[in-house]
């Protein structure tokens, strides 16, 4: 019995001692949108190569949570796929630890409406999309497709993608009760990939050959239509910091990485639209 206990305790101690070893120099905590998340992850990876002593944690829980945690002081940079709401601004600028949130636009993105590739429909108008999500249209046959029920998939309410969709497509109307709520972009993508009658909306970086992006009001979402603003549901992606970061600090480097060629290459490889053309 004693040997057994020893056998269990010793490896645990060895493994946990790994956790309490030396502190790294400089650490960065990012939290926020699942749309900007892949860019944050990729930047963190590139930074790890350039500054091996730095530890960067990227936590993807939604734009609303990112703003709240920046205000609370739980993260250094908040990734958001929408601008801060007036309420969040007020929370940031009042109180003991008041600061001015500064927004850095690192890429452009378009919210694409996706369906399963077996769906014969290729384009919809924003009016039709709105009617699908408010429940007025329930069957694909009403839009010229096969006779099957529409399964609308939406992001959860704290998501920046949801906010963009709500503002630009839904015109602030309520979504119907049978809309399924998922927590992140990859989850929405997975639901549409697996369910034949599903329709959902994700950022441009999450559209691949397993789903089909529809034309909205006759415009196909791609890099040129989004950067020129022709695609109706385009939006900038932000990194929010507390005041403008000190020049030369880690935060500043991270927030201006998108201007470097490497940063642009990463943004493009993830499927987003870089702000400039290098």
């Amino acid at each position: 019995m004693k040997k057994l206990m020893l056998l269990c305790i010793v490896p645990t101690l060895i493994l946990s001692s790994h956790a309490f070893s030396a502190q790294p120099s400089g650490s960065l905590q990012l939290q926020g949108s699942t749309t900007v998340g892949p860019i944050g992850d990729a930047f963190a990876e590139a930074f790890k190569k350039m500054y091996p002593d730095v530890s960067i944690t990227v936590s993807k829980t939604g734009s609303g949570d990112g703003a709240a945690s920046l205000v609370d002081g739980r993260c250094d940079i908040a990734m958001m796929s929408r601008f801060m709401k007036p309420k969040e601004f007020k929370q940031a600028t009042t109180g003991d630890n008041a600061f001015l949130p500064v927004a850095h636009v690192i890429a452009m993105d378009g919210v694409c409406v996706i369906v399963h590739p077996s769906n014969p429909i290729n384009e919809l108008t924003s009016e039709q999309v709105r009617n699908i999500y408010t429940g007025k249209i329930k069957n694909w046959s009403e839009l010229g497709g096969p006779d099957s029920t529409i399964v609308p998939i939406s992001r959860d309410t704290s998501s920046g993608t949801y906010e963009t969709f709500e503002n630009l497509v839904m015109n602030k109307e309520k979504m119907a009760g049978h809309v399924e709520y998922v927590n992140s972009n990859p989850q929405a993508h997975a639901r549409v990939k697996f369910t034949k009658g599903a329709v959902g909306y994700v950022g441009l970086g999450f559209v691949d050959n397993k789903v089909k992006a529809l034309k909205i009001d006759g415009v196909t979402p791609n890099q040129s239509t989004i950067s020129s603003g022709k695609y109706p549901v385009s939006r900038p992606l932000f990194l929010f910091t507390k005041n403008y970061p000190k020049l030369g600090s880690l935060v500043h480097e991270f927030c201006t990485f998108y201007l470097k060629e490497k940063g642009q290459e990463i943004i493009e490889s993830k499927g987003f639209v870089p702000v400039t053309n290098y």
């Binding site: 645990t12 946990s16 990729a42 944690t57 936590s59 609370d72 998922v182 972009n185 997975a190």
Partner: protein, 541 residues
Amino acid sequence: MRLLIRQLWDKFFTGSAVVSILLMVLALVLILGPMLARGGSAVFFRGTVEFRKMQLALFNRGDVEEITAESAEVAKSRKVIFDTLNHFRRGIETEHLIDRARKIYRDYGDQLRQQNTPSEQYILLRSQAKKIRNKLCDAYESVDKNQALEDLGWVIQQQDNTNFKGTLLEELFTHAREYKKVVQSIDLTRREQYAESLNEVQTILRELFGPLPGEPTPSLALFQYGATRWDLAQKYLHRLLWKEEWVQTTPNQPLVRKEFERKTLFTGTELESIFDEVQNNLSAMLKPSRTFYWQYFIDDHPPGYYFGGVGPEIVGTLLITLISMLVAIPLGIISAAYLIECAGENIIVRVIRTCINTLAGVPSIVFGLFGLAFFVLYVLPRFHLSPKECILTASLTLALLVLPVIIRASEEAIRSVPRTYKEASLALGAGRFRTFVTVTLPAAAPGILTGIILSVSRAAGETAPILFTGAVAFAEIPRSLLKQTPALSIGSYVIATSDNVGMNLPHKQYGMVMTLIVLILCLNILAIWIRSRTSKKLHGY
């Protein structure tokens, strides 16, 4: 009722009881089977040379010489394809060719100046060179085969001009001759189409073999290596050979997926041969071999989370569980001791027992809410720490969750110690405390240990209480107790539903949940074994 019907009814009832047990066993096998099998493929698989290269670069594992030798062999077998590809590309990516022509023209101008040619001759030669360059560029850009051949013919004629012998301009003529060959073999009107399909083929080749030779190393690890597993390689090979298309077979019905050979897009060109080449020689190009990647359980996530193992998650789970056990075990055993040894039958003890039962029945998410409201938002500020979720709060929440389990198991274990042990000790003159510590507790130890192991397995598998009190998915190993930590349970949840990388790599998804299940199964089998051994000792069966 007639006897026959009664007997039939009896048989039917017995049969349905047996069927229900069989259904349960079947359900167990159906659930565990696929998950363990697919998860096992994260540890046992056929790894390719790319995998070994990646292990060397990211984890410093493997013999450098061996891997370099392998890479050289593989590069040789891949050379054929890449040469064909490059050759074909030259006909398609004309911008590159035009830039090259312009560069040669500029260099020629520099060369003339260096040779100090008199200015009249300089202007003459340069204008002639310019004409040649422009004709060549027109030939590059034109889509009309005949026009292109005409222009190229004119350019090639110019090489007889003695002024240009021995100068840089000869390169232009070589390029023109090469391009003539390309023009004769390709249908120029389909250049746009070829460009797009070529792009697709190049992307898949990059997925299979890593960056194409001559390309700069990409900055993200996920693009730096080709297919690291043989099954992934087969998937990419299939995508290379077959292109999918969704066609409408019947009107007003969903589209149907059809596949056609990608080869047919390149009929008549030299690229057609690489498809068969890749298909026949893939194993020479990737060198798959059986790999036992047991380091999966201790590997960290390299940046990008594409490769690597579940080391941080295991460490996180063990940390949280260990700390919660450190809190819950003393509390639990002492409470059980009190309830059996010292408690009377008054109302306070009844209240205590009711509370323990209530604690056992609280839903796990309510524990999470309580942990958030109490430990994170109330207790931490009292100690002048910022109200952030951390390992400490998550462990304390879990400790509350497993406390009733430990109390119940300890109570049962202590109660099952035969009274004779206790009475013998008391008769020999030991006090009550001494009796408990030296006689009862060791006798009950196996039962208590079983309870502890079962509660460890319960704590390791719980997700809801730690979801917002201290656990995150995909973080690094925590360096202090006041940081958040990854854990197997929350990692499984996130990778199953919402992770981009996991969706494309099913072996990572199943690998994580397989680790969790294997950990918990081992703990439970251990507990069952201990219990069966001591059951024989104490009860005789």
